[in-house]
Symmetry: C2
Subunit: 112 residues, 2 copies
């Protein structure tokens, strides 16, 4: 059996698999933004964006906050935890993979 399947990794990857949502992450990596700004920047309708934001929220890649001025606006902020978890999985996988290569190389050398 391999590593245990991670539900949160699942949701993180599913959220990031959509190009519009990945663009949202790219935008938020530069600065927090309002829902409406994100809709405009991506060329999506506010409704469509709202649903993407819900997916990103439920994967915990983003977090809702407020600007303290106008209570109607939702500011969205990137969260690092899910991306870190994903990076950890990638590194773990790459580590195992390179071990595999090393032992294959050793195997070849032993045969000479």
């Amino acid at each position: 059996m391999g590593l245990p399947a991670s539900v949160s990794l699942d949701r993180t990857l599913a959220a990031l698999a959509d190009p519009n949502r990945r663009q949202v992450v790219d935008l938020l990596s530069q600065q927090p933004m309002r829902a409406g700004e994100l809709a405009q920047a991506t060329g999506l309708s506010p409704q469509a964006m709202s649903r993407h934001l819900r997916v990103l929220r439920s994967s915990e890649l983003i977090e809702e906050s407020h600007d303290g001025v106008d209570a109607r606006v939702r500011l969205y902020v990137l969260r690092s935890a899910p991306m870190s978890e994903l990076k950890a999985w990638l590194e773990q996988t790459e580590a195992l993979w390179s071990e595999q290569l090393l032992s294959f190389k050793a195997h070849l050398e032993q045969q000479e």
Copy 2:
């Protein structure tokens, strides 16, 4: 505007978003395996596995090869390039995000 959307990143993430396919990647990170072994290890039918393998192949996360003994068996091997690209995107995003935090901190300190 943010970073340009990457088609290959799209396919990589979509491929990895499925838990069965991620399990395949986990298994292949340890050693190359036959299609049938992968089906058994994941509890999927050979047909279902075959389709997952096609998705992984088209995202270039895996590569088909042969064992040189029985030409019927397909050995699958992990490829590192797509995972490296994904890791690079993650690191880039995290870098921008931490810059953002730094400038926010600087902003706060300037106000004191």
